[in-house]
């Protein structure tokens, strides 16, 4: 009897590229907090303290030439509520999944712009989010969690990237991407 197994595409760990992406992720997160008037700093632990509310997790996949991965964002429902007020004001109601999904979307969007300037053009998917009493996400060997906290909120994020052996950083963009908050009328 033969057992068929799918051929695994050769990959490389590319620690320098992973580190560069992690640094851009951290910068993107801090910029996003500031954009909404929230002071957030890196937490000393990658684990967020429990606050009695359920956990929400959002995942957005992405792909680039010879690389692929996902951004994973985790927060409590209580933190999502805090963020909702900061983003949209007290009158707007939305589920915690919607809020965390949109934060993940904006965070990956910022990261995408930074990576594009350095020669990595990423196609984003749409967020998928879930909520539960206990959420534990299996570790991925390519990256680690970053936790941030501010007054009344906390969130943890990681970006998992897998590179093919043939991956290369492309030419940097001749024109800078549009920045968050930019408005263009054609």
């Amino acid at each position: 009897m033969s057992i068929l197994a799918p051929a695994r595409r050769p990959t490389s760990t590319r620690p320098e590229s992973t580190t560069a992406i992690q640094k851009d992720l951290e910068l993107s997160a801090i910029e996003l907090f500031q954009a909404y008037g929230l002071q957030g700093t890196r937490a000393s632990s990658a684990m967020l303290p429990a606050d009695g509310s359920e956990t929400v997790v959002a995942v957005i996949g992405f792909a680039a030439q010879h690389a692929r991965g996902a951004l994973v964002l985790s927060a409590t429902v209580s933190s999502a509520s805090h963020w909702l007020k900061a983003i949209a004001g007290p009158e707007v109601t939305a589920s915690a999944c919607d809020v965390i999904g949109e934060i993940a979307n904006m965070l990956l969007g910022r990261l995408k712009s930074k990576l594009a300037e350095k020669g990595l053009n990423v196609l984003m998917s749409t967020p998928t989010a879930g909520q539960g009493a206990v959420a534990e996400i299996a570790p991925n060997g390519t990256s680690s969690w970053m936790a941030f906290q501010g007054e009344g909120w906390g969130l943890a994020v990681r970006v998992d990237v897998e590179f093919d052996e043939s991956f290369r950083w492309q030419e940097t963009l001749a024109t800078s991407p549009a920045a968050p908050g930019d408005l263009m009328i054609f």
């Binding site: 983003i87 949109e102 979307n105 594009a116 920045a179 968050p180 908050g181 930019d182 054609f186």
Partner: protein, 115 residues
């Protein structure tokens, strides 16, 4: 149109407070149906990354239907190539999230004044 309820409400509140009547859509498919049912639509605020039909596909389909309502894209995307693609498909504006509500309202008033 946006797949995020939070963003739809945010945009809706900003435009409603400036006198617009807002109809929400969750993606391009939903928006095309509502556009067909609301012929006096004067402006479309359109996300790019959405399930079922994204913003670029929506522009293509809207053009095929002959609808000329101006569209401003509201998105996390900022890559020059995708901006040019939307512009070539007839988009009249581009706003990168997070957005300032007063700027979106100013853009809406400008685009509906010239339509």
């Amino acid at each position: 149109m946006d797949d995020s309820s939070m963003v739809r409400q945010q945009v809706g509140r900003a435009l409603t407070s400036s006198g617009f009547t807002v109809i929400e859509a969750v993606d391009g498919v939903d928006a095309l149906e509502k556009l067909a049912a609301t012929p006096d639509t004067c402006l479309i605020v359109c996300d790019v990354n959405m399930p079922r039909m994204n913003g670029i596909e929506f522009l293509e389909q809207k053009n095929l239907s002959g609808n000329a309502t101006p569209v401003v894209m509201l998105t996390t995307e900022g890559h020059p190539e995708i901006i040019q693609k939307a512009k070539a498909l007839g988009a009249k504006g581009w706003v990168v999230k997070p957005f300032k509500p007063d700027l979106l309202v100013a853009a809406a008033k400008k685009l509906t004044a010239t339509a």
